[in-house]
Amino acid sequence: MPGGDSGMAERAPDPAGPIGSVTTEPLWVRRILIAIAIAFLGLFLLMPLVAVFFEALRGGWAAYRASFDDPDARAAIALTLTVASIAVPMNLVFGVAAAWAIAKFEFRGKSLLVTLIDLPFSVSPVVAGLVFVLLFGAQGLVGPWLREHGVQVIFALPGIVLATVFVTFPFIARELIPLMQDQGRADEEAATTLGASGWRTFWSVTLPNVKWALLYGVLLCNARAMGEFGAVAVVSGHIRGQTNTMPLHVEILYNEYNLVGAFAMASLLAGLALVTLAIKSFLEWRFGGSIASAPAH
């Protein structure tokens, strides 16, 4: 284990320190800026969140509960859980492998690889879905061949999983890479020199050092996987009870003017988002520097 310097994030210096008065703004300026920031965030971020729960409960608790008795709603929840339980582990294994190669070794083309990992962030979710339709659809490049062999990808589970994996591809890798780069490879080299095998080094040295960042990456990846809409909308075909994920079911109910049903389903996803953010804040507060501070986008 390292000497004990891994840990708490440095707190920003207190602006009210002895020389603080020349490096901060007058109190009234600070108050106005804080007020503008909070008002802006309240209007753009908080209000929509409150609206979800308000609209979901508008018809009362019984109506809210009843909206989950619909078999289509249950099928959508089950499908979303299935998709996330396949997509997240896939990206988890990739994220760990990519971070190990990038953080622990020097090789040519590394920065290109990092850029390519970020690529899915700059691709519209709709385009991500389209790409798989062009490959596996009825008129796609390999779609007809797959169909002859009885494999359906588009309008079925494999297509939804592929689209979800594409869209959530970078999340775990991005959480791990900067942190593992910061930590360097001295710990691992020490373990290897002392005779630990590669796996033993990874499980006993690397993993404990990055576990909280890994957990947050998995949570964020999971929230995005369960909530993905555009890419999945393109590949799913919207077959009720079969290829409808939770966000797609929200859309269908909303378009049918079943607002309580739509917002009830949406409230589950909003709750998931809140839990994700709460755990992230807790981890940052508790473990500070062992969560990567790089922008998670």
Binding site: V22, T23, L49, V93, V126, L130, E188, G227
Partner: protein
């Protein structure tokens, strides 16, 4: 180590390089690179005349203009307020700062469709905000303004989170020096503190813009989706697909993808420039 002279990697005592890099590259190719190559292959099959056909359609042009124009405006607003929010969160201490800080990530975690129906409910003429704006003659939901609001929501965390760590790294001694040399606080903020933040703000802007151009879920519920008025390019891709017009969908998608890649390229240039000029990045 074997084949040191010709090796692509520097020697290392740690094992697992071949396995981890090999797996990462194979997976990256299977999930991202080959599918994107399929799109480019399809686009090449359309030919220039095909592209001109699709992009000459006034409805497609209007959708692209709507998407890029409103995404630009939303990214500008998100960048300005993002800078302010990042500044307030890094420099000032106030009650509930941690909760406010966590809330910035909400658009990352909240599914876009959920955000979309929530914004539609808020800004509809009978919604909480819509009913306040209606007497002023201002309609947000089901107009281009609705797209703008949704895109600001989506873009905001990119703007904040790109600038925030850079503000945290600013050397306070520079500000102290400026103050010692007689600068007023406003002078040191605008002449000493803000200029080094410009590359980060621009990077945040490009990220916010790229994300906004491609955004679909949160927009379609508040946009009204009127052709020539409030129809965005990603929606048109979906419409073309539903009409089995694969060439049309591919052409629009390729234009969007091309502009995203230019954006990525610009970010990399910016970051390289910032590293050279300012010694951090």
């Amino acid at each position: 180590m074997r084949a040191a002279g010709l090796s692509l990697k520097e020697p290392s005592a740690l094992p697992g390089f071949g396995l981890s890099l090999g797996y990462a590259l194979a997976y990256l190719s299977a999930i991202v690179l080959i599918p994107l190559a399929a799109l480019i292959y399809r686009a090449a099959g359309i030919g220039l005349a095909g592209f001109a056909d699709v992009l000459g359609d006034p409805r497609v042009l209007a959708a692209l203009r709507t998407s890029f124009g409103i995404a630009f405006a939303a990214a500008v607003v998100a960048s300005l307020f993002g800078l302010l929010v990042a500044w307030v969160l890094t420099r000032y201490r106030f009650p509930a700062r941690r909760i406010v800080d966590a809330a910035v990530d909400l658009p990352f975690a909240l599914p876009t469709a959920v955000a979309g129906i929530a914004l539609a409910a808020l800004y509809a003429p009978n919604g909480w905000i819509g009913s306040l704006l209606a007497p002023l003659g201002l309609r947000v939901a089901f107009t281009p303004l609705g797209i703008f609001v949704a895109l600001v929501f989506v873009a905001l965390p990119f703007a904040v989170r790109t600038v925030q760590p850079v503000i945290g790294e600013i050397d306070r001694e520079l500000e102290e020096a400026a103050a010692t040399l007689g600068a007023t606080r406003a002078e040191s903020v605008f002449k000493v503190v803000l200029p080094p933040l410009v590359p980060a703000v621009l990077t945040g802007f490009v990220l916010a813009f790229a994300r906004s151009v491609g955004e679909y879920g949160s927009v379609i519920f508040v946009a009204g989706n009127l052709p020539f008025v409030s129809e965005i390019a990603p929606l048109l891709v979906v419409i073309k697909l539903e009409e089995y017009d694969y060439a049309g969908a591919t052409a629009i998608a390729t234009v969007m993808l091309g502009i995203s890649f230019v954006g990525l390229f610009l970010i990399n240039l910016l970051e390289a420039y910032a590293r050279r000029r300012l010694g951090h990045g």
